[in-house]
């Protein structure tokens, strides 16, 4: 810093000086996420970010969702995994465009990866706009919660075998979510899972959380989720202002 007037430009820098920054460490990711969101808005696409531990049923939920909504809504899927193309292959088998992002070890998707994935997805979808793009995050209940991807709707899944204490143990994921899906409810008789506890603790962290209970195996509760998606996708402006 300049010794005479204190300006940060010229002069002798042997003395220390302090700069107030007050900027989020996530600023670069947030900028990219906002750009992604603008892009989704411009094409009238609802972007949904699915977050859960490995094995909570994200991909199976997507398969069933596509099965029921695929004929009325144009769906695309961005799959995040550490390795393999398997999930994207499962989704393509349902007849919708899907791209796989393999993070090569990273435990979460970030906005930049999704931006690239979205361009590939649009190519695979031959440039026609999507009504809904699902982003299936890397299976992990911790790290993905920190990174905005530009989604409109963040959905957290918790399956019955995982235990109803997870909202208390992994608060950040539940705080940042818009919807909370309790999955595999057909297994409720076999596990010590209290739906009351899961609901109460999740709502204590996030009073605005929308909660669904469902089993894709029996189909119980699936309709409420599908109706919610129909309504959410339909409520986006069809031709938003630039």
């Amino acid at each position: 810093m300049c010794d005479t007037c204190g300006c940060p430009s010229a002069g002798d820098n042997t003395k220390g000086f302090t700069v107030d920054v007050n900027q989020s460490l996530l600023a670069a990711n947030t900028r990219q996420a906002e750009e992604n969101r603008r892009h989704f808005d411009a094409t009238g696409t609802l972007a949904v970010n699915l977050i859960s531990s490995p094995g909570s049923g994200k991909t199976t939920l997507l398969e069933q969702t596509i099965e029921h909504l695929g004929s009325e809504l144009r769906i695309g899927v961005i799959e995040g995994d550490i390795e393999t193309e398997r999930d994207a292959a499962r989704i393509r088998a349902k007849g919708v465009p899907a791209v796989q992002i393999t993070t090569g070890g990273a435990c979460h998707l970030d906005a930049r990866l999704v931006h690239r994935g979205l361009h590939d997805l649009e190519k695979e979808g031959e440039g026609k706009p999507f009504d809904i793009v699902f982003i299936e995050n890397v299976g992990n209940l911790v790290c993905p919660a920190t990174f905005d991807l530009g989604e409109h709707e963040r959905v957290i899944l918790l399956s019955v075998p995982e235990g109803s204490d997870k909202p208390v143990k992994y608060p950040k994921s539940f705080i940042s979510a818009d919807s909370f899906l309790i999955t595999k409810t057909d297994l409720i008789d076999y596990f010590d899972f209290s739906i009351t506890e899961a609901r109460r603790e999740a709502l204590r962290l996030n009073p605005e959380l929308r909660i669904f209970e469902l089993s894709v195996t029996t189909g119980t509760g699936l309709d409420a989720w599908l109706d919610y998606l129909r309504q959410r996708a339909g409520s986006l402006p069809a031709c938003p202002a630039p």
């Binding site: 810093m1 940060p8 430009s9 010229a10 820098n13 042997t14 003395k15 220390g16 000086f17 302090t18 700069v19 107030d20 920054v21 007050n22 900027q23 989020s24 460490l25 996530l26 600023a27 670069a28 990711n29 990273a106 435990c107 979460h108 970030d110 911790v142 790290c143 919660a145 920190t146 990174f147 608060p171 950040k172 994921s173 705080i175 940042s176 204590r204 962290l205 009073p207």
Partner: protein
């Protein structure tokens, strides 16, 4: 382990700031982390130390982390309290309806450089 990518982002931010202010060395980095930010402070500090050591600009930098408790505001009487874990009821009026504000911040507050 997302702490490591956040530490990478921090280092990139520090290099930008040093260029902007024509600094040769960064001595102290002050960061505020909310208790609900989902960041393990030890992992973040470790990641920063590993990465900072790779470059002379940051090799002597000290990372000072301040943990921020979330603020809970009573929906009924408006009383506020900072607490590490959510209180079950308002200490003033006993209402159970408390709204959380913040606690998930992740902010580069201040940098000392030479």
């Amino acid at each position: 382990m997302h702490e490591f990518s956040l530490a990478q982002g921090l280092c990139a931010q520090l290099h930008g700031l040093a260029r902007q202010h024509r600094a040769k060395k960064i001595t102290t980095v002050r960061v505020d982390i909310g208790r609900l930010a989902g960041i393990v402070v030890d992992s973040f500090t470790f990641g920063f130390e590993v990465l900072a050591a790779e470059n002379p600009l940051t090799s002597e930098a000290r990372l000072a982390v301040t943990l921020i408790d979330p603020l809970y505001r009573c929906d009924n009487c408006g009383a506020t309290v900072r607490a590490e874990t959510p209180p079950s009821a308002c200490s003033q009026c006993a209402s159970p309806s408390l709204v959380r504000e913040g606690g998930d911040e992740l902010i580069l507050k201040q940098v000392e450089m030479e």
